[in-house]
Symmetry: C2
Subunit: 522 residues, 2 copies
């Protein structure tokens, strides 16, 4: 783009060009009238793939998946405050996954705001709490500069979603200027002194444990974690993490238990807890008479840095400081036999271990069925496993969509609860539209099953018919095959382990989106 | 409930009992772990009907529809900040409709908050901007008191959604006490002096116009409006209003035009604009070079009070002050012949005029097809017409659900765009579950058609293939019959005016939910 063209840029063009210059390559969008100039600016920007989503929560979930695969934020395009709200749960989730994301929120033209038109709202107020950074480009001349600032801010200190408001007049007016190409700030490095102190603490401890997350869950980080384990430190991941390398030949840390009482029993006697790429583990929810902080009373906590640090580098340095040798080789490929009989989450996991191709990517929003599918895949082909870290169900399918577009040469498997899947079923349409190579497995148990468990754990009393009814989604049963095919994603329902195994093999063999409704016990 | 029982109330029970005592009769809910005690409290409260929704935006849209019919707020039950965000767009819409609504948002137990568990967020920050009132019941002893306060606050001064946060420990602990039965504050009354001044202003004006909304759109208000019109004042409603009585024998005001240039041309020469139950009309969006405020330059504005006033009472007083006689009788029932040929929004309107039973309720989220369906129904059987006032599409089906449950003896008709319908398609499931007597008509044009219009109006340039693609939802086409039947709502697709007429007659004759996919020009 020469200087003359630069002169004539609209604000929308300056914003889009700046993000493209910085390496943003996808925009997940649900535009409205106030975003029309952004739509045409994207139309003229071949470096950014525009993906239409039928609900804003799909857009932000997909942007999360895209960035988890590429390491670079995707852009979203949201329609004023209401569009931001629709997008909000998956922005919350992305924040809890520390995923960089640039949410561009169209707003009314600045002179129009004072008239309080129907779609006017306090967008900065609404979006502020879940934004690492938020600004409004109230002057067309600032659009490029703020786009560069937003891009950089999405990297941190702690990576996450940022919000850039673009008033319609700042979009349509000429006078935009491209912002700089910025070098994203690297994750923080832990000092040599801290590493040495951690090594000393480990030497002094009788039962040390380390909880890891973030970059430690990549291939290099896990190699270092294996060495640290060989040096006598128990290694756990957080219960939920954004992405981990797994499978044959990859060191498999244990996983922190979900239920507080189980986690505390499991950690009993640990006298040192090192934290790398995470914070002290806490119970997902509070329960009467149960602990919130999942650290034994007499256990010292050693902080090796939260998600703003490069935990892989910390672990490599710590392994060296411990003089830890290379760990023993871990188990190679184990492919189970065809599972038979009743279809369960475990048999689903066994079939996954049998059929997942090398380098597959899993998006796990399986809720109560997630863990039992997870365990059997440990020694399948090497793959990446992504989880819901923020607890707002309805992330699985959008995340899978984004991951598939970011990594078109890899098979993506989505695990979703039926309750979770209903939140964002519109993702299926974008999968079909984009030919996304995703096999979605919906665990159909006609129930918010996790809540049936939690109802008892919270001591909320004996459920009567109304309470039971509020946790059941089986009246009427949702026909997932029809739902999926209504959006042009071919689908099949299965009720036995054998039938699932065949359906999974078929779906994985076929390019493009497929859905398997896996009817499992409620 | 005697004193002994009162002693043993949990906070959740105190909250629920207080709302029930105050006349709340429905709770639209999507609960999570932190709301389990609310679920069991609702289980023990026969005065409140609990309705499960598969996405929180359904719950708030339905609560809006319920309150528009009953005049009493419904309760919703939302799961922390993420649940609030999912619910947010239809809360925005309810705010713009001035609909009272009590949103109860479960939060973590107070001692748990400091650990920043995955679902923790700044709920007061997120919910504040769209709440008329917001408080957190951080002490179990306050739960009943604050429930009463929230209920009263939803009535105003300007009615709308309020947010009551209920931490899980305040829900589960005993020590709750019921709050008072409160008398909701009435809408404000305009003074006699103001009415006299308005009458004088009308007498002095050469071309007066009055824009009305709120209670003025009920039967008594419209009778007064007809008298004012007979006295020489042109009467218009806002372009979008929460609810209006219409049909044979009911005075029909004109309707403010949507597009700014059309509205301004229409109002040219008006030298006095009275506002009753509303604010000065403004353009829905800003456009380059077009006005925001839809009031001619030399036109005086006379404020008879916004949505916080009883505009029906204002109009009756004004009609008396003008000495206005009873207006001439308005047109009686006109039922068109069977429309023939291509299916259009207009032919849909003609069929509605033919088949809508007396006292039907219409929920209109028809977007670009709304107006052409609206006009032909003017002289159908008397009915109530409800509109999307907040501009966040995806309200139509949830609103219809709530209206149907509030008025089980009335037929509800939902008009939805296909783009709008996809936002909240999960409403169909709750319609099936509750046997809601709703006939949903989806205008299937495979397009965000309004945006194709707006793309040109905003001067966003000639759309290239990417831009056109971002406004088309036809690749792939959504199969609405499959989608609807996947959630057990019987459905049919029609492509001619005659076929639609038959399908509508059939759907209206059948009790319970039905869906008609009306394929109209794109």
């Amino acid at each position: 783009m020469d200087d003359q063209q630069q002169e004539a840029l609209t604000g929308a063009q300056a914003l889009v060009a700046t993000l493209a210059d910085n390496g943003v390559s996808a925009c997940f969008a649900n535009p409205g009238t106030s975003e029309m100039h952004l739509v045409t600016a994207l139309d003229g920007e071949p470096r950014i793939r525009s993906v239409l989503c039928l609900f804003e929560g799909i857009a932000t979930g997909a942007a999360d998946g895209y960035a988890r695969m590429t390491g670079t934020p995707a852009m979203t395009l949201l329609h004023l405050g209401a569009g931001y709200m629709n997008a909000g749960a998956n922005i919350h989730n992305a924040g809890r996954a520390n995923t960089p994301m640039v949410n561009v929120i169209g707003d009314h033209a600045v002179p129009h705001l004072k008239y309080d038109a129907p779609l006017t709202s306090d967008i900065v107020g609404l979006a502020g709490p879940n934004s690492r950074w938020i600004k409004s480009a109230d002057r067309v001349g600032d659009t490029g500069k703020l786009a560069a600032e937003a891009f950089a801010a999405s990297y941190g200190p702690k990576p996450g979603p940022v919000s850039l408001l673009l008033p319609a007049d700042s979009a349509w007016l000429e006078g935009g200027a491209k912002g700089e190409v910025v070098t994203p700030p690297p994750l923080r490095a832990v000092t040599a002194e801290t590493i040495a102190a951690a090594a000393n603490a480990i030497a002094a401890a009788s039962k040390p444990v380390m909880v890891i997350n973030g970059t430690a869950l990549g291939e290099a980080g896990l190699q270092a974690a294996a060495r640290i384990k060989a040096a006598g430190v128990r290694v756990l991941t957080d219960t939920f993490y954004p992405k981990m390398r797994r499978g044959a030949g990859v060191f498999a840390p244990e996983r922190m238990q979900y239920f507080a009482e189980g986690a505390m029993a499991d950690l009993e006697g640990s006298d040192l807890m090192l934290l790398a790429g995470t914070s002290a583990p806490v119970a997902f929810f509070a329960y009467p008479g149960k602990p919130s902080l999942l650290v034994p009373d007499d256990c010292n906590v050693f902080d090796l840095g939260d998600a703003s640090t490069d935990s892989a580098a910390s672990l490599q340095a710590l392994a060296d400081a411990l003089g830890a040798k290379e760990a023993a080789p871990v188990e190679a490929l184990i492919q189970p036999d065809v599972p038979t009989g009743d279809l369960t989450a475990q048999s689903v996991g066994q079939s996954l271990a049998r059929h997942m191709p090398e380098n597959a990517v899993v998006s796990d929003d399986g809720v109560s069925n997630g863990l039992m599918s997870y365990l059997p895949t440990q020694n399948g082909q090497p793959h990446d496993w992504m989880m819901l870290t923020g607890g707002a169900i309805g992330q699985g399918m959008p995340l899978a969509l984004g991951a598939a577009l970011a990594a078109p040469d890899r098979k993506v498997i989505c695990l979703s609860g039926d309750g979770a899947g209903m939140y964002t079923n519109q993702a299926l349409w974008s999968m079909a539209r984009e030919g996304a190579d995703v096999t979605t497995i919906v665990f159909v148990n006609h129930s918010y099953r996790i809540l049936n468990i939690e109802l008892y754990r919270t001591g909320a009393g004996n459920p009567g018919p109304t309470a039971k009814n509020m946790l059941s989604i089986g009246g009427p049963e949702i026909n997932w095959v029809q739902l999926s095919e209504s959006m042009s994603v071919p689908a099949v329902e299965v009720r036995t382990a054998e039938a699932f195994d065949t359906a999974l093999a078929d779906a994985i063999a076929a390019p493009g989106p497929r859905l398997i409704a896996a009817v499992v016990p409620g």
